[in-house]
Amino acid sequence: MDNKIRVLIAKPGLDGHDRGAKVIARALRDAGMEVIYTGLRQTPEMIVEAALQEDVDAVGLSILSGAHMTLLPRVVELLKAKGLADVMVFAGGIIPDEDIAPLKAAGVAAVFGPGTNTDAVVEFIRGQFQTA
């Protein structure tokens, strides 16, 4: 019996590069998780459909463009609408401190800023899905 934590890593919006997202994807892989990486320029609809098909436990979104206040709540909302309310959403990228509280209120479980140690992200996800 196998029971892997599956995580979707996506970049919503129009960001031009995905270095940070790839670093996180590799860190989660090295922590033994299965990471579905969907690449750049994903709409919230594409992300949620991929999360559904891949039956993931969590969705990690990386945003540098400043569109986080619209894109992140939209993903959370669409997940709920598709019956995926139990999928955890976390975010990374360039997100000002004052936006963190409203994002959490909107259902984003955690926000990791630039310079976050990847171990912290791994520990956070593991903590959410501790399998005995």
Binding site: M1, K4, D30, A31, G32, M33, I36, Y37, E45, Q53
Partner: protein
């Protein structure tokens, strides 16, 4: 294998999935992928509904453009035959060090997003070495039972000894690309023998013709009879001799998948191969070989499981320690275990 602890939950999941609930389908695939009694129960419930889909495998070395080609085949099918739904299973390797994986095949299939007639699932190999995950065949069955008419399987990008795909797909496409180092990667290994269709992708690159020539030369040289692929020990009967003139000859096609070029001809070849399998005795033969291999695999797992239960882990640990200490050889130890009542 033991009994499912949640039989009602599993059968409810199966009911929802076969009625077209995509969320239930995704969760059912996870159960099947995770293995164990729930998976076996789910598979026994869906089995009567399987056998309807056309299954096409796409394999080849890394960088030949498998994902893009799979995406194009799916797109073409949905465009020209909107009634046919498409399932995609894309397999990537699990890291042997961490047990984790990065599954990136969806990046090249983004054109398919938003189409309800397409279901894409990424799978990690989870330690399996034949180019597919252990559960890939079972996941294909789930998609088949849930109404996918065409199922595309993309293997890991290795293409040398990774020939599991021949035991799973009706039609195997082997993808090559010019300029990948060696003249033709596939010559090194047995992968040409499993090809029903050969595709030279990225055909706008230099060296296409020499790749095609090399493939032609290999095919003319080999001309090994198909249908002998991977017999399980359960299949001991000799095959009826095939008439060589009626046998399938793998066509060699050129594509530029990134631009959608050559997909017409490829689809035509896939359809011809399907018709061939329907008319020719080789089609039935393949179905039988596949059933034998599958039964043998399951039987081996089941017997091992029963044996371990009967022997008990203490006795097993004890024998392992004796083998490790060179007090008994592993052959005699296995014989002792197998004779446990």
């Amino acid at each position: 294998m033991g009994n499912s602890r949640r039989p009602d939950e599993v059968s409810a999941l199966v009911d929802h999935a076969v009625q077209g609930d995509r969320r239930a389908l995704a969760r059912l695939i996870s159960r099947v992928e995770d293995g164990g009694p729930d998976a076996w129960l789910a598979l026994s419930l869906i089995y009567p509904r399987t056998g309807q889909a056309q299954i096409v495998g796409v394999t080849g070395a890394p960088g030949t453009g498998k994902s893009t080609l799979v995406g194009e085949i799916a797109k073409y099918t949905r465009h020209h035959q909107p009634d046919r739904t498409v399932g995609v299973v894309a397999v990537d390797p699990t890291s042997p060090f961490s047990g984790g994986a990065v599954l990136g095949d969806r990046i090249r299939m983004r054109d398919l997003a938003g189409d309800d007639g397409v279901f894409i699932r990424s799978m990690a190999t989870r330690g399996s070495l034949g180019g597919l995950a252990r559960a890939t065949t079972d996941v294909v069955k789930v998609l088949d039972a849930c109404g996918c008419d065409l199922i595309l399987i993309e293997t890991v990008g290795a293409g040398q000894s990774e020939i599991d795909i021949a035991r799973t797909a009706d039609t195997v496409i082997v993808v090559e690309a010019p300029g990948l180092g060696d003249e033709v990667q596939a010559i090194k290994a047995g992968i040409l023998e499993i090809a029903d269709i050969l595709v030279v992708n990225k055909a706008d690159r230099e060296g296409v013709q020499s790749t095609i020539n090399a493939l032609h030369a290999m095919l003319d040289l080999g001309a090994a009879p198909r249908g002998t692929l991977h017999h399980g020990v359960l299949m001991t009967t000799a095959e009826p001799p095939l008439k060589s003139d009626s046998r399938w000859h793998p066509p060699i096609l050129k594509t530029i998948a990134a631009e959608g070029k050559g997909i017409d001809e490829l689809m035509e070849a896939i359809a011809q191969h399907r018709a061939y399998l329907q008319d020719h005795p080789e089609g039935q033969q393949r179905v039988k070989v596949r059933a034998a291999v599958e039964l043998e695999t399951i039987l081996r797992e089941t017997l091992l499981q029963h044996l371990i239960e009967a022997v008990g882990s203490d006795r097993l640990d004890d024998l392992i320690a004796q083998v490790a200490a060179r007090e008994i050889d592993p052959y005699s130890a296995a014989e002792l275990l197998a004779r446990t009542p």
